[in-house]
Symmetry: C2
Subunit: 222 residues, 2 copies
């Protein structure tokens, strides 16, 4: 198991954030690393998805992970146990990551050995949508138990994501969730969004997501 580094990250200057984000994006692009920002509500399954993604494409792509949490290091430990370099960013009460915090995390990763870095943002559908992290791609998870009305309530998050993953589809026996309706709602906000259904628990649909991620990496590098 790789060692987990814990960094107490400090926020950057608000007005400078988009500049720092552009710099991160450009630097990582030059180094051949794709940076992906994964967002969702608390408990929607970000860590579980990352672990499944490692299983499915960990042999093809060299992955690294930045785990953000207000407190706790449990997620980074799980990722490190899967054999992937992981850094825990502790935001100390802060409700989102900004690009400066991401920079602090990236410095602790062996970037020269990596193809893709996944940022697991703080579990929150509001604030992370308002701060660029420097990622090349933004991805969010909406889990079935949260309900199909979420695009109506958190429109900004749905508007800016390249991919929306409808997750925990294994729980449809417990919850009502109208896939067609939620897709209409997402596409109304964001006509270019790619929408996949999956269950990190059963593995259903994870291959399609993993294929998208590999294609995004290849596209970035050509």
């Amino acid at each position: 198991m790789d060692e987990v580094r814990l960094i107490e990250v400090k926020e950057g200057v608000f007005s400078e954030n988009e500049k720092v984000a552009d710099q991160v994006r450009s630097d990582l692009g030059d180094r051949g690393v794709l940076l992906l920002n994964l967002m969702s509500s608390p408990g929607a399954g970000k860590t579980t998805l990352i672990l499944e993604t490692i299983k499915v494409i960990g042999e093809n792509l060299k992955l690294g992970v930045l785990e953000a949490d207000i407190d706790a290091v449990v997620d980074a430990e799980k990722v490190a146990a899967a054999g992937v370099p992981a850094v825990q960013l502790r935001t100390g009460g802060f409700c989102h990551l900004d690009a400066t915090m991401v920079t602090q995390g990236l410095e602790a990763l062996p970037l020269g050995d990596l193809d893709v870095v996944i940022i697991e943002n703080v579990g929150n559908l509001v604030c992370p949508a308002e701060f660029g992290t420097g990622a090349h791609k933004n991805v969010m998870i909406l889990s079935v138990p949260e309900g199909d009305d979420k695009p109506l309530k958190y429109p900004l998050m749905f508007s800016l994501c390249d991919v929306v993953l409808l997750s925990k589809i294994d729980s449809l026996s417990c919850f009502e969730f109208d896939f067609e309706l939620v897709k209409q709602r997402i596409l109304k906000l964001n006509p270019k969004a790619e929408i996949f259904e999956l269950s990190a628990k059963t593995g259903a649909g994870v291959a399609v997501w993993a294929e998208w991620l590999q294609a995004a990496f290849r596209e970035r590098m050509t």
Copy 2:
């Protein structure tokens, strides 16, 4: 169906928030109204719980509801359809309610006719914990699909709530969730927390919660 008022609320001065909150608490106490702040992740079931609460004790207590959302009015419409005065507070991107926003909402409710006002805060386990609303009691919902590790990740929210409702217990066939472990984690942060299990869908446990709410009202008024 009562008419839904929609108010575009504006934030107050940050440094003044706790003063405004104290004023709200004291004013409502003087008027015999209990103010309750209900918080959770997006989709944990705040609105559904409010609707069940209206069904169970709407005859005994005169309820009013302030519904906060970044966008959308769907929740206030549902509550109003249940025959309870409801005001929709639209925060325009803001990730939490502050006491000034609550004041704006309370002015639109018929307070002289009410016993209890429930604030449905923005769905977010981080920011709402940092801003007093003026409520006499803070209550949060943790739903089974979110997982039993949430107290580790969002400690402030769990620390300040008088009641933690473990909800969606009907979904235990779909998810693993260790009730004893989560209770230990909550009580470690907050030894005075009262913890109830319920399902707003099946109604299981709602009566116990409703009894707590009625007792809190009676205690407040004596």
